[in-house]
């Protein structure tokens, strides 16, 4: 019974992540790419996303701290972060990046600084929630169960 309870908790948790907009359909696509030959695919990709994002957020912080702000460089970083967040289904992070890019186009430093804080906040939220999701997965596997896939259309 424990496995079933864990699986139910997992499904409820991930359904909430979709409902609250933290994740979108691209995350489901990642799950479908995971199989016996690549059993840790989702964790691997999301871990890469964490590393990449933290590097980009550091670069953005430094870039916006310069006397002469290089908006082209900032835009390139935000574009990259938008792309990687989109590729793993981190929906709110992606949307925060879209807003950020608009203010880069306007060359508005104050607005960009606010956007950076917003992106950081969304990223940290997404990271916390995904790490909790992966802990639930580990518990399911440790209890001898399989990771259920959320049927978004049921």
């Amino acid at each position: 019974m424990e496995v079933e309870q864990l699986q139910r908790s997992f499904l409820e948790y991930i359904a909430a992540l979709f409902r609250e907009g933290f994740l979108d359909g691209q995350f489901s696509q990642l799950q479908l790419l995971q199989d016996e030959s690549n059993p840790d695919f989702v964790v691997e990709v999301v871990s890469l996303f964490f590393e990449d994002s933290e590097r980009l957020l550091n670069d953005l912080t430094k870039a916006l701290d310069q006397q002469n702000v290089d908006f082209k460089r900032i835009d390139a970083h935000v574009h990259q972060l938008k792309g990687s967040s989109s590729s793993i289904g981190a929906h709110r992070v992606k949307n925060a990046c879209i807003t950020f890019r608009n203010f880069c186009d306007e060359r508005n430093v104050e607005a960009c600084l606010r956007c950076l804080q917003e992106v950081k906040q969304e990223y940290l939220l997404a990271k916390t929630k995904l790490e909790a999701l992966f802990r639930l997965e580990q518990q399911i596997v440790a209890a001898g169960g399989a990771i259920p896939i959320l049927d978004e259309f049921s």
Binding site: Q29, L33, D35, E44, F49, D52, G83, S86, S87
Partner: protein, 178 residues
């Protein structure tokens, strides 16, 4: 030559120097010293090169391709792609536009100007879906243009179509031995 045959004259010294450098590079990367031949290579599966500055995009797209029996090579920008194209020419390239050092347009233009690379079909996959970006890509000779995020089924269909069209064009160019 006067009879139509082709005589290849090799300047050996630079070739040897290049070979020594590549051998040392391969050993430093933990690879075998001897590399696979690029021209005569027999491929069991089509080789697709994914060129994108996002490591997560490369990983996800690579996995999609591998699951559908494609061999995958990746590069993080145009400069990295050119270095890897020196080793192996792919059967098709999936190419992002916005990348550091050399963007997708620059790489596509370079490839179309290189006799060794000009026939590699290119599918551009990018978040820039405006008409002027598409047109610029097609003016450069890019074969297809897909917006991000892409649908997996659409990507695979386009890859299949482009490879088939390319193969037909190759067959049409071959001399008739009949």
């Amino acid at each position: 030559m006067g009879d139509g045959s082709v005589l290849v004259i090799l300047d050996l010294a630079p070739l040897v120097r290049h070979g020594v450098v590549r051998r040392e590079q391969r050993l430093a990367e933990g690879l075998n010293a001897v590399e696979l031949p690029t021209i005569e290579e027999q491929r069991a599966r089509p080789l697709v090169m994914v060129v994108d500055d996002s490591i997560t995009m490369r990983k996800v797209t690579g996995r999609v391709l591998e699951r559908h029996e494609y061999e995958v090579a990746t590069a993080k920008d145009g400069v990295d792609a050119l270095e890897k194209l020196h080793e192996r020419v792919p059967d098709l390239m999936l190419l992002d536009i916005e990348m550091p050092r050399m963007d997708g347009y620059e790489l596509a233009a370079h490839m179309k100007g290189d006799p060794r690379l000009r026939d590699v079909p290119i599918i551009m996959i990018t978040s820039r879906t405006g008409e002027k970006h598409r047109q610029r890509a097609f003016d450069l000779g890019v074969d297809r243009y897909l917006g991000k995020p892409y649908q997996e089924s659409e990507l695979l269909a386009q890859i299949g179509e482009v490879l088939e069209q390319h193969a037909e064009a190759q067959r049409a160019r071959e001399p008739d031995h009949g």
